[in-house]
Subunit: 110 residues, 2 copies
DNA sequence: ATAATAACAACTACAATGTAGAATATATTA
DNA sequence: TAATATATTCTACATTGTAGTTGTTATTAT
């Protein structure tokens, strides 16, 4: 049995990005979406490391793209959020939501 | 200048708990609220360690309670979220919100 | 053929955050 | 002054976050 832990924030971001990208989620498209959406520059190394860990934990699945694409370079590795990944996301969101419930931040330093 | 990083999830939970508790935020009340709200058992050691780090980063402020309380035991240490802590919270929330934007989880495994 | 280039993924190393449990401090009460 | 109650601090290790470098595999130019 798993220890039912929550996701780290970066892990959560990556999972969400993959969900959004649908069939086109691989290293650099994920990175692109991430830096477009949040204000943080993600290095490609950091990204692949986390993708690996998420896959090992069973929250992600992957398949290699066809080697014969019409472009140069190595084959892409496409990612997909597993069912387990989806429930992890759901749990994290719920926990965050209930913690935010009733909290009002002062507007002083927007 | 700070490196504008995001908060870890646990850090975020703690900050929110302190905000909710207002004038009564100290070790074990924080712990209590946390385990009531999210489904995770927080050991007291883990909690104090993170409180310390948050204070060192300037996201929390603390003061010691009066030594002469009408009960046994050591003085309480009360915490309060600093202005910097509040903006960190705000930023984390915004990032999460924009990442969740448009994501629909399947209902398969609720 | 083969060198150059492009598009990727994998590896390595270290810092920051998460987690637990034991140890210590300080007050009240018997 | 010992026992007990209530809290915090210390120590150690696991997991996650982050960056940079290196390796792979394809296309294109010579």
């Amino acid at each position: 049995m798993d220890k039912e832990k929550f996701l780290g924030e970066f892990e959560q971001f990556i999972l969400l990005a993959i969900l959004k990208l649908g069939d086109n989620a691989y290293g650099s498209s994920i990175r692109q979406l991430l830096s477009d959406t949040i204000e943080r520059d993600v290095t490609i190394g950091a990204l692949y490391t986390t993708l690996d860990r998420l896959e090992k934990k069973g929250l992600l699945e992957s398949r290699m793209g066809e080697a014969t694409a019409e472009r140069g370079g190595r084959a892409k590795k496409y990612f997909k959020v597993s069912a387990q990944g989806q429930s992890a996301l759901r749990r994290s969101k719920q926990a965050l939501n209930s913690m935010w419930q009733g909290v009002a931040l002062s507007e002083a330093n927007l």
